[in-house]
Amino acid sequence: MSSLEKRAWLALWSMCPVYCVYFAIQIGFPNLLPTMLERIGCLAVVASIHAVAYVSGLLMIKRREAGEPFLEDERDRAIDGRATRMAYFVLITGMIVVGVVMPFNNSGWKLVNTALLGIVLAETVRYALILIGYRRPRLAH
């Protein structure tokens, strides 16, 4: 498994579960965190868990890769480039929804959470397309 593929798996596994729980709480139990401070705290906890899981996984990968001559080559860059390009469209769609459409009817945490959802979706699409690019190159082209 290539270095970029390992990082993509790590990013997906560290990000998806924690943000799934976060959005499930936000959508399923909107009154669970009534105050602004509690909501900020919840977001901070989720972001911290994500960061700790990702950084610790990254350190483990780096330790195992020590001494390998080439970690990334033209194929990795091509796969990453295509995935990033597709994820950009997801992100820009999310930002248009949040910045152009939603302000007419919504405000506050709904905007914050939708923006966060757009970012998480874009990242998920990027890493998923990287993994697809390694396994089924024709689908990613």
């Binding site: 498994m1 001559p69 033209e74 194929r75 480039g81 082209h141």
Partner: protein, 79 residues
């Protein structure tokens, strides 16, 4: 696009994928993908591989019409 990389590696004293990758600046995984026909290398890498085995590019890589659309896209991205 098919190629003779695996055969040439075998003929070059059973050179490993990692060793070939190291000598042409690719990862072992990319050499494996090239051998399996899952990735078409850039022209630069194709020349480097051919030069390493003392062959011409067309002796190592064989292009077949009608199946290269994806590879063309991959190579244009790889720059």
């Amino acid at each position: 696009m098919s190629n003779e990389v695996r055969l040439l590696r075998f003929l070059a004293q059973d050179m490993t994928q990692a060793e070939l990758g190291k000598r042409v600046g690719l990862t072992r995984q990319t050499i494996a993908a090239i051998e399996q026909g899952r990735y078409s290398p850039s022209l630069d890498v194709a020349f480097r591989i051919a030069h390493l085995f003392g062959k011409r590019v067309d002796e190592v890589f064989h292009w077949q019409p009608g199946g290269a659309e994806g590879n063309v896209a991959a190579n244009s991205d790889a720059g």
